[in-house]
Structures are given as structure tokens and as C-alpha cells.
Symmetry: C2
Subunit: 486 residues, 2 copies
């Protein structure tokens, strides 16, 4: 058997947050910088356990010149020695190296992640290395904390996590924009007698796509288990190259039996507040760094493009303030009478009830008018999906969208249409073949119940929590039109 | 705004595990059975929060005959009344209904889930309703508990959960058996000048598939963050209709920098013991039910097919006993000299070192020879993947498989080849185009470090924890050749 790691390491986070000094320890990690002179070298070592580096003091009397030469940015080393109180500013402890082993060199001529300011665009090209940077290390740790917080929130409430299918034979959200999944030979696909592609001969015996949402299947779960949630990847084959869209992204979709729209809003608001607070309580070091980073980025922006609150303040604001709730109809009134509408400053002028709200309108409501998260409810039925519950006015549905400053729509949800006849009518009207959704209709036929749920786009959440502005920077390996590297 | 659920329910689990009696409560759920006579009806109500039903006592003086008639198996009701100590056996409390509202009926003529023994095959056809059965309710709750336990285990150790990509442009495990992802018109795909399919015009500008493993990307994470894990769906387009294979399944893949094979085995063993103990500590009611269910199923099996230990005992055994560790070479010796090998009872006779172990050999080692979980290590290099670390003997690799009784391989892992030259050599030998894995090779070029990891097939774990025997019964909506319903 092969044995390489002859002695265990201690994580740098444990050393920096612990109380121990004057003990012998071993650390392993990647060199961020090395500076110094011929009498002493200072190595900043990071092992990913936290943002901060451990300073390693290397005295040429202990560490050979040959070893020191090989210690460059990006190299991986194992260092052992005495952990002592630090004389320098900025750190509590440092390591006086007694031995250093170079586990892996990083040629300074070719290693792409040098200690200088790289553009985010460049870092995307080296997404396999970018978690070694301060910014992406922080984002990855915050993203993890939010994953855990999502599970903790629902688990503690007694929800059941349901893994809804990724490959799906139904296309219930309607029309296009899905990725096809197939094992057919594209150059020579099987054809039926009429010369059409014969999907009966495909792997699943029919046309299959990547899911756009686990909601319909989550509803099946809720109609048996009461409270469920999904947390999985979802896909959109939209050719949109924006800072807010990915072809592959993660979504959280709770679904609750016996809940109405108000319960749904309460749950979503409590959830988002919990997440903001969890980040503040558990990711302080990373958030402080990301806050400063964002302030630097904003420095050169015109005053009206700068955030009024910094990252930490924005998270605190969400955690501690109630969201503004109003109906679509109320929102239309506000927008119609707003200055930008009257002065023709909206690209799409709000003329009448029924108009679909554009991002500019949402931003006005959230960022200018209310200056806080907004929950819009009761949208016109005809601009929303078939499964949303028709209100008594018969022209609006019990839908809700939560709009966040700087992010736009972060949550979309609704009470679901639980009345069999109403739902069948809508399915017909939208042209959805009943044989695609017979199982969904079944839950209305057998023991139906009022229920509601919502979807949270996980990367949108991470944008908000990290203060990053491009969604490609908050997922490890972004998939967008033309890009599926790594 | 529409308001349906006029008053809040209490979950049945809270009532059955709480201490309160003689209080007014409201419950909502699905009727499992109704029995009684013209003087009193007993309704068994389940809301998915736990296995047990709440008994609702309906006196015709309070509840009209018309309502009672509509209360049949599968109907959804809201019942309100006094929670009282139960006179009957089998339950601590029951509900004396003062009012009952029928939220959704279930026509007894057509509702498929009647209170009788349904076959598992039939229940798969109604996978949208089967979580309303005792067996599948229990499985779903146990599955959830295991999801949470996975995250808790790694989170508490400081691992970072990394969402590795689902759509991937690389095919690093080598050849076939992948699902293609495309937005091209299959009837008329774009062709290049030579008449070949022009993948440059596909959504991602190249051929893309569904991932078979997040390992390679997880390694990138470990080489920056130290300790990471994935938990996501993976796909195999294998045309295998067995009780142990799915086309879409979930996998957990931890990856640890500075770990060798022994660290890897220690982590995997600790992980599996933690999961078994978590299930025992948190899912007792469901496990007791599943234990009895399995005993019933085994009743008609011949003695040698019955489990020596029942479900609870098997979980306790795993939680409390060390796994047997031995090398492939040692295993071959045992197998060569075993009775079934000598008597020609193996389908594949073990003749010499280098043979790939078949399921029958693994089962002999685990179920007959050692009678405990087994970790086999140091397999011949030529039967294992390119990324496994070559041992000093240059003919074996630092691989490990964990074999469980009744399940077979539940974990596969290895120390990874961290030496750039050795890895490049292997990539070439296996015919993997370097341009597909340049980013993977980069981690060996820049700051490489010993590291190791493994993959746990989540559904295999759930088979073990629930005692179910067909993998289609431990995932909500199974995808297998010819099946992608719901």
C-alpha cells in the first residue's frame, strides 16, 4: 500500500480561531505570496479552510535555499514548526517553520493565478483554478453555507427533501427552451414509416428533456407527505447572454399542503430572512471581504449606480425588515402615476392593467419607490402559468413574486389550482396534452387539497449574499450559450 | 386575495409524540381507512409527518351522514375537535371530531390505492400516489433523513459542498454510455462541409453529455478548498434492467486534499457508520415498520436466501463493527482456495491474479467468508480508471471498493494520481484526448498534492437502510430503459 501523507495537518482556520500557541503543528496548503530578504522569508499560506492566510516564517538556517527557491505563488507545501504569537500586525499567530516540504511546484512563468488583480472574465476562463483566489474561495464557502442553511431550515420544520427527476418526459411549463436528452445516433436517427424520428426507439421510448422545474413532482410529494422541498439542478435552453441567466442552475422549490398564498408568502419571507441571518452569523470573515471587494468595484461607478447600503447592511436589512406586500393591481396604479412613466422614461410605458411588468418597473418599485424587498401578488391570470389558482375575481391568480434590490425576481410562487374542473379547463386552454399530465391531474381527482409553493433561484440568492453582479461568478462551472468547459 | 385554509392544522406527529391531551386541535390529511357502525366511525388519518395514523372518532350526532359518506380511503379531510386519551389499544391519543370538512374526495371506484396489499410493480406504475402508502411514506422520510445526514456529516467536518456541472463537455471516464444533451433539430441537424453533424452549431458549441460523475471537478475544488463533496444526480445510459441500476441516480463524492488511501478508507467507514447510526437514532418508527415488512417478504424465501440479521440488526452491525480490510491480492487467494471455486460453483472461476471480480465473488467474500462489510484495496491497474494512483509495485493502484452484504459495491474510491508525468502517460495510454482534460492536468502541473476521494451511490445506500431490494423503489421517480414517466 502506498503512503504519502506521513503526518496529519491541522487546518489553518483551526489555528487562527483557536487559542493554542507555542505548540508544534503541521499545515499544508497553497502559497499565495512569498516575500522577504536573504535573512528571512514570509510565506502566506492558504488551505481553503478560511479566507485568511497563515504566515509562515522561514529562516534560511532551517530551510534550505533550494527549498525556498521552489516556493512560489501557487506551489503546494507542507510546513511544520512552532506556532507562535505573531509580532507583525494583521495576524494573531504565525508559524516558525522547522521543516518545509514542497508537495507540488507552480512554475511562475506559466501559473496563471499570479498575485495581482485579475479580471473576472479572465478568472472565468480558469474556473478550475479560481477557487484559489480570495474572491472565489469566499464565494464557494458562502455558497456552501447557504446550501447547508437551506437544508437546515426545511429539515428543522419537518419538510421532506424530494429528489424530483432531472430527465423528464413531460413539458408542462409549455413550449421550447428545453434541452433534449437522447442516446440516438444523431447522424442516423431511427425513423418511423412516415419518415419522422422514431422516439419509441430512443432510450426511454419517448421524447425526453432536462427538467425546467421540479414543482409538479414536488406537488405530488406534498399531496402525500404534507411539506416537501426540492433542491436540484434545472435547465433552460434560452439563448440569453445576460448577467442573470444560466443554462444550468440550481433551484429550491418547497411545496406545502394546506397552505394558501399568505402562508406561502410568510414561508418565503421567513426563509429569506433566515438565509440572510445565517450568512451573517456564519460567514462573517468572507462577507467582510466581499463587502470591501464590492465597495472597490463600485468606486468608479456614478453615484446613482452605487448601492446605498453595503453588502453587510443589505443582508441585515433583509434579515430585520418586513417585505412590502402589495397586489399587482396596486403596483400598476403606482407605476402608472410614477414620474418615469409620465415622463416617458420607461422603455415600456405602463398604459393599462394587464401589462406584463418589465425589469425596469420591478426595479422602480423595489429600488426607488419602496426601497425594500417587495412581494407582488395576484397577477393577471393570462400572464401566469396554468397551475396557479384562479382568484374569485376570475381574472387574477394567487401568484406571488418576490423582488430584491439589485437582483430582481428572486422568488416566484403561487397557490396551486387544486380544483379538478378548473385545472382541466386551464390545461386544455393552454394546449397541454392531458396524457402528459394525467398524474398531475390525478392529485386533484383523488384527495385534493389547497396547497402552495415557490421556487428560489439559488444562484440569484448567492448573487445577493455575495454582492457579486454576474451569475457566472457564483456557480463553480457556469453553463451558458457556447460554454460548457470543464 | 383568496383564502382557503381558514385555520391552521397541527401535524399528527406532534400530537402523537407530544404530551398534550384534552385540547382542541385541527388536523388535515388523507384517509387511510374508515370503519365502524351506525353509532360511531373510526377514521385513520395520515398526513405524512409520520408513519402512524391518528384515529378520528366521528359520532353521527356531530358529523352528518352526508359528510361521513364522502369520507373514503384517499379522501383529504380537515377535522377539528378534542384530543383525548385513547381507550383503544395501539394509540395514545385520538381525536373526537366536532367538525369535519372534506377537502377532496376520492372515488372508491377509481382510486387506485385501496387499503390492501399492492405489488411493488403496481405501485411503480402509480409512483405519483405511492408516497401515500405506509411503505413509500417511510422510504421517503428515511431518504430525507439520509440526505440531511450526508450534509450534516460533511458540514460538521468543514467540507465545502460543490455543485459540479450536470451538462459536461468532457467524457473523462471514457467511452459510450452517456446521454447526449442537445438543442439541435434531430430531423434536420446542421452539417459541416464534410457532411458530418456540426456540433459547433449546437447550444454549447460542442458535443455535450450528462455527467457520469462529478469527481474530476470535485478534485479541482479540493485542490483549492482542501475538503469538498458533491451531492448531485449522475447518469448512465446503460441498457441494463437490473434491480441495482438506474439511468438517473444520485451520488455523493467527497474529495480530500492531503489524504492517502488509508485516510480515504477511514473517512468512508466513518461516514457509513454515521449514516447507519443517524438512521437508527432518527427514523426508528419507519425502520421498525420496514423491518417487519422485509421479514414478511422473506417469509416465503428458502432459508439460505433469508437475511441472518433483520434490518435494524444490520444497521446496528454496520454502526458498531469495523469493516474487514484486505487487498485484492489477498482476496484472490481466498477466492482461489474457496470451496465454490474448487467445486466449480462460481460462474466465473478465479484462475489467476488480474481477474475482475464478479458480483458472485464479492458476495462470497462479504456474505459467506467474512460476514461483514469488506473494503478491498489495491486492485490491478488495468481494470481500474486512469486517475487512480499507481502503487510502487507499478501493477496495482491505490483503489478501494466497499462491499456491503446484500448490496454489493456501495462505495468506490481511490487515492488519485497526483504526479503529472504518470498521469499524462495514463491519459495517453487510455486514449483520452488531452484537450478534454487540460484543466484536470493543470491541477497536477500547478501546486499538486496527494489527494483521495470516493463515490457513494445514494440509492444503494437507501436500499441498505430501508431493506428494500429493488432500486426503483428507493427513488421517487425511477428512470430506467423505456421508463421516464411522471
Amino acid at each position: 500500500m502506498c503512503k504519502v501523507a506521513e503526518s496529519k495537518r491541522t487546518k489553518i482556520k483551526a489555528l487562527l480561531t483557536g487559542e493554542q500557541v507555542d505548540v508544534n503543528v503541521r499545515v499544508k496548503g497553497w502559497v499565495r505570496t512569498k516575500r522577504g530578504n536573504k535573512n528571512v522569508s514570509f510565506i502566506a499560506l492558504n488551505d481553503g479552510s478560511c479566507l485568511a492566510n497563515l504566515q509562515i516564517v522561514a529562516d534560511p538556517n532551517n530551510i534550505s535555499e533550494d527549498i525556498l527557491k521552489r516556493i512560489t505563488t501557487g506551489a503546494c507545501i507542507s510546513a511544520e514548526g512552532q506556532l507562535v504569537a505573531s509580532q507583525g500586525a494583521g495576524q494573531k499567530v504565525e508559524l516558525n517553520a522547522e521543516t518545509i516540504e514542497v508537495l507540488g511546484e507552480a512554475d511562475p512563468e506559466t501559473y496563471p493565478l499570479q498575485p495581482k488583480r485579475h479580471s473576472l472574465e479572465f478568472l472565468r476562463e480558469i474556473a478550475h483554478l479560481r477557487p484559489r483566489s480570495n474572491t472565489f474561495g469566499a464565494i464557494m464557502r458562502v455558497r456552501h453555507a447557504m446550501i447547508f442553511a437551506v437544508h437546515k431550515f426545511f429539515h428543522d420544520k419537518g419538510f421532506v427533501n424530494v429528489h424530483t427527476p432531472i430527465i423528464t418526459g413531460s413539458d408542462a411549463e409549455g413550449a421550447g427552451e428545453m434541452f433534449r436528452v437522447t442516446t440516438m445516433d444523431l447522424a442516423n436517427p431511427p425513423k418511423d414509416e412516415e419518415g419522422n424520428i422514431d422516439f419509441k426507439q430512443d432510450f426511454f421510448g419517448k421524447e425526453t428533456n432536462l427538467t425546467v422545474s421540479g414543482q409538479l413532482e414536488a406537488e405530488l410529494g406534498a399531496m402525500a407527505l404534507g411539506e416537501v422541498y426540492t433542491f436540484g439542478p434545472t435547465f433552460r435552453a434560452e439563448n440569453s447572454n445576460t448577467t442573470r441567466h444560466l443554462a444550468e442552475f440550481w433551484m429550491i422549490e418547497p411545496e406545502v399542503a394546506f397552505a394558501d398564498l399568505e402562508d406561502n408568502m410568510d414561508l418565503a419571507e421567513e426563509f429569506l430572512k433566515f438565509l440572510a441571518k445565517y450568512a451573517l452569523d456564519n460567514c462573517r470573515e468572507d462577507l467582510e471581504f466581499l463587502k470591501e471587494r464590492a465597495l472597490q468595484e463600485e468606486k468608479n461607478l456614478p453615484a446613482d449606480k452605487k448601492n446605498e447600503l453595503n453588502l453587510i447592511e443589505r443582508l441585515e436589512f433583509v434579515a430585520n425588515n418586513d417585505f412590502q406586500r402589495l397586489t399587482y393591481t396596486e403596483a400598476i396604479d403606482i407605476l402608472k402615476n410614477s414620474k418615469p412613466n409620465k415622463k416617458g422614461r420607461f422603455q415600456y410605458k405602463i398604459e393599462e392593467w394587464g401589462a406584463d411588468l418589465q425589469s425596469e418597473h420591478e426595479r422602480f418599485l423595489v429600488e426607488k419607490h419602496f426601497k425594500k424587498p417587495v412581494i407582488l401578488t395576484d397577477y393577471p391570470a393570462k400572464i401566469k402559468a396554468f397551475y396557479m389558482r384562479l382568484n374569485e375575481d376570475e381574472k387574477t391568480v394567487a401568484a406571488m413574486d418576490i423582488l430584491f434590490p439589485g437582483i430582481g425576481e428572486i422568488v416566484g410562487g403561487s397557490q396551486r389550482e387544486e380544483r379538478y374542473e378548473v385545472l382541466v379547463e386551464k390545461v386544455k386552454a393552454m394546449g397541454i396534452p392531458e396524457e402528459h399530465v394525467w398524474w398531475y391531474l390525478d392529485t386533484r381527482k383523488f384527495g385534493t387539497a389547497p396547497h402552495a409553493g415557490f421556487g428560489l433561484g439559488f444562484e440569484r440568492l448567492i448573487l445577493f449574499v455575495t454582492g457579486m453582479t454576474n451569475i457566472r461568478d457564483v456557480i463553480p462551472f457556469p453553463r451558458t450559450p457556447g460554454t460548457a468547459e470543464f
